[in-house]
Symmetry: C2
Subunit: 258 residues, 2 copies
Amino acid sequence: MSREEEIKEFILHGYKYYIPHVSIDCAIFGYHERQLKVLLIKHKLLNDWCLPGGYIKRTENLVEAANRNVKERTGIDGLFLQQFKTFGDPNRLKPDEFDVEKWFEATGVRITRDCWLLDQTISVGFYAITDFSSSIPQPDIFADACAWFDIHELPPLDFDHDEMVKEALHTMRVQLYHYPIGYNMLPEKFTLAEIHSLYETLLGKKLDISNFPKKLIALGLLKKTDEKRSIGAHRSPHLYTFDKASYDEALREGLVLS
Amino acid sequence: MSREEEIKEFILHGYKYYIPHVSIDCAIFGYHERQLKVLLIKHKLLNDWCLPGGYIKRTENLVEAANRNVKERTGIDGLFLQQFKTFGDPNRLKPDEFDVEKWFEATGVRITRDCWLLDQTISVGFYAITDFSSSIPQPDIFADACAWFDIHELPPLDFDHDEMVKEALHTMRVQLYHYPIGYNMLPEKFTLAEIHSLYETLLGKKLDISNFPKKLIALGLLKKTDEKRSIGAHRSPHLYTFDKASYDEALREGLVLS
């Protein structure tokens, strides 16, 4: 199928392959050197930016749908994905505002009011965190652009996506106390100062220096290596690494850090 | 409309009033004197018990749908409802197992394979906690029974509702550290031992006696009254009450108890 045929088939008969009325949206947070960003896309048919998302194939579960989406937008497979909330306000999407002419120009398909894409949709929100420097943002077939935006300088977002980002951030911050986070955002070996910076940036606040890293060590998630890094005169902090088995168990079982 | 006509209209044309493919399910936990129960219904068309739930009206948001459901099943309006997870495994419901003859006997309506009720459905899970002694369980139009079951003695549940109860309990226990819980499960004035019992029962484990109640006091959620209760020779503990304004703010904003 050509790209045009693919788009036409999706618009006219997508309900055969995807579950109508339900979408997923992904708040993908990107961390790198004390910066926290979120990935946004610019949909051809909308004026503002929005979170990447899409429909759920009839053969996949929700996490598989989210993972497919995250992989398509970032090139990264298998990120830890966490559901944070499902959004279902009857006014969250306003299909009446879709401009049929603009839709036709963008896709070559003339839609009618009973198109499955224009009915009420409930969306399941997932968040993920990654190192944004290791990603290659890639727009979907309905988008012109896909890019990282600093969490403190977001443009206005379409639909209820402002609320989604806020809720995703809130849940991520609460869950920092319950799940280990960091495996894919730090080099394989890192200093306690580096993981401390990561937690401060994700939480958006200063932390007592003795706080998280020591708890991660006490819980067996961090292992001290024999290596040190030289960062200046008389300063050569030890390097640490994650204990992958303990880390994976904590992801499955949860833990209380605080 | 008679009850029969109402059932027929729902089965044949319910998709006009409700969003297809999406349901809500409610894990309503009931506390009373150190017992923790969950409300279950016995659907006419299913062999096992399941959580109460239903579809979302096209005019209501998810919390309104959950609240309507909880109110219909328990008689209690306005319980604090918390989304815990959305379930979308493609095998979570097995409509093929529905027995069309049994369905006809129970409802008087002969359904066909393309009935909107038989297509894939994703379900948004909510939990609530209440004092079960103040509820009046009431089956819905498709159920024969509605009753409280001790959390430690649950029957086998239909669909993926075993997993739902497990996830609801897990989320409720994690959220005990982040939201105040107790307002509708204790008498207006209570002893610290009573609220301590409530937390122990909800968490399913023993707590250090100095733990939660003192934190609730420190956070301004509990106020000491001038009254005492006489519970034996030389024992007359002070009675406490919730500070409703602080409590409501903590519900909105969240807090960290631990």
